[in-house]
């Protein structure tokens, strides 16, 4: 066992276990906090794959941004007003069929794909390559995404004013 293997299994275990608890936890605040560990585990796996920038962005956007907002929302609605919001199970049969189909497709893809296994070179910093790609080859998509975000921001601000 190399140290990288140990770290990989550690992060994989964190991701899977916490994801399991997110869906099974009866307390919605606990579920939100378990989600923190799922995101954290995924970040670790990104780092091990050599995608340093994606990992950091995952941490900033999901842990620092979205999750904090989520917890904020959940915290204000729960316990303070003595109304316990519990997660329950509804529509078991359609859900089971949907999940079964999805698992089948994913499983089939995993089993039937011929995976290329190569020794990856020592990971290098991806940031400058990413930046150049974004401003040359993918500049149109990049600008469009920027406009999309700006529209969303303006929309949110105008809704908040009402």
């Amino acid at each position: 066992m190399e140290i990288y293997d140990i770290i990989f299994y550690l992060f994989a275990a964190i991701t899977l276990l916490s994801a399991f608890f997110v869906v099974t936890s009866r307390n919605i605040v606990h579920a939100a906090f378990y989600l923190l560990f799922t995101f954290f585990g995924v970040t670790g796996i990104y780092v091990l794959l050599g995608a340093d920038f994606v990992a950091i962005v995952q941490l900033i956007v999901y842990v620092g941004g979205i999750l904090i907002l989520l917890i904020f929302g959940v915290m204000i609605t729960n316990k303070i007003t003595q109304v316990d919001i519990k997660t329950g199970t509804v529509h078991t049969l359609p859900a089971a069929i949907g999940v079964g189909l999805f698992t089948g497709i994913v499983g089939a893809v995993i089993l039937n794909t011929e995976w290329r296994i190569v020794d990856s070179p020592m990971p290098v910093a991806t940031l400058s390559t990413l930046g150049e790609m974004l401003l040359t080859e993918y500049v149109l998509i990049f600008e469009l995404l920027g406009i999309l975000l700006l529209v969303a921001l303006i929309g949110a601000a105008s809704m908040a004013r009402k």
Partner: protein, 357 residues
């Protein structure tokens, strides 16, 4: 690097990694916290014309040691109505978040936990864990003061992260690097190469950078002060309104964890200001080790300069705490969104224009 050196001695990568990752805690954070808590009490006392702790040891030097022994002996009290799991985990998360910052901070050219290329963005990212930990503590305490404190703290940290990031972005744009090690190496040898005085740029560009950098330094110092919840931005734990905010219900070692995290954070943000604007571990005027030919002396000198700069900014934080009154919540938000953020956007734009000269 320390890691390679240890690896050559022990021959085990796991052991040497473990030792390297523990070094900042035992060599730095714990002694620093011991010293800083005492310093804060002494500084506050002398600023208010008092003497401060005087009984334990000479002029109260051992006061914090006595305090820590007291904290260790305390019963681990968990109030009945709390959410036990989250209540017990929150101090760990807060401390882990502030400890993780130290992995990327270059203490000297040979003592840096990890030379990751994205050092500065990494530091911004892991502070997200601190916010989550504070929210967890506030919610799990099941106490309205704790919850209010946690909410205020999270709102404050998220808002003040924006000016911090914008100033950091300006620096990234000028220097073209995100690695704190490279950033420190760029500002080498003499103090006129520090970013506050225009960095490695020359001629007209340097002169135009200087006013921008001074304002930028002020903006980032103010906003990092707010991010570590220090006075005048200490509304999350405002004693006169909220008892002591998100850690009202904590006692004993769990309280000590929050305390340790707070002091570790204080040093971390001071170190970031020192690295970005004041040359990091670089000496302001050459090295004694280079002058007399003892090159092994240079890293030690660098460690001294880095610690000195960091401690100076920590002292300024204490100074401000005992000088300025606390902000109101609305003033705090208005100050960030109406003044700091526009100022930092202007700095970003102007620095971009100047870098084209």
């Amino acid at each position: 690097m320390i890691y390679e050196w240890l690896y050559n001695i022990t021959g085990s990568s796991i052991l040497s990694m473990f030792v390297v990752s523990l070094l900042p805690l035992f060599v730095f954070i714990l002694p620093f916290a011991l010293l800083a808590v005492l310093a804060e009490r002494k500084v506050s006392a002398h600023m208010q014309d008092r003497l401060g702790p005087m009984r334990v040891g000479y002029h109260g030097i051992l006061q914090t040691v006595a305090d820590i022994i007291k904290l260790l002996q305390k019963e681990d009290l968990v109030p009945a109505a709390t959410d036990k799991k989250l209540f017990n985990f929150a101090p760990l998360l807060v401390f882990a978040g502030s400890y993780a910052v130290f992995a990327a901070i270059p203490f000297s050219s040979i003592f840096i936990g990890s030379q990751i290329q994205l050092g500065i963005i990494y530091i911004v990212a892991v502070t997200g864990l601190v916010v989550a930990g504070i929210l967890m503590a506030g919610w799990a305490s099941n106490n309205k003061y704790s919850l209010l404190g946690a909410m205020r703290s999270a709102a404050q940290i998220i808002s003040y992260e924006i000016p911090t990031l914008l100033i950091i972005l300006t620096i990234i744009m000028i220097t073209g690097t995100l690695s704190l090690y490279t950033l420190s190496e760029l500002q080498t040898s003499y103090f006129w190469n520090w970013m506050i005085l225009g960095g490695p740029a020359t001629g007209l560009q340097k002169i135009l950078y200087i006013p921008l950098m001074i304002i930028g330094c002020l903006v980032i110092y103010i906003s990092t002060l707010a991010e570590v919840n220090r006075t005048p931005f200490d509304i999350p734990e405002a004693e006169s309104e909220l008892v002591s905010g998100y850690h009202t219900e904590y006692s004993g070692m769990k309280f000590a964890m929050f305390f340790l995290a707070e002091y570790a954070n204080m040093f971390a943000v001071s170190a970031i200001v020192a690295i970005i604007f004041f040359g990091g571990y670089q000496s302001p005027f050459g090295y004694l080790g280079n002058a007399i030919g003892l090159h092994w002396l240079v890293p030690i000198e660098q460690f001294f300069w880095f610690t000195a700069k960091g401690l100076f900014f920590v002292f300024v934080q204490m100074w401000l705490r005992w000088t300025l009154p606390r902000f109101r919540v609305d003033q705090l938000m208005a100050f960030c969104w109406k003044y700091l953020i526009p100022i930092s956007f202007v700095i970003l734009l102007l620095a971009g224009l100047i870098s084209l000269i």
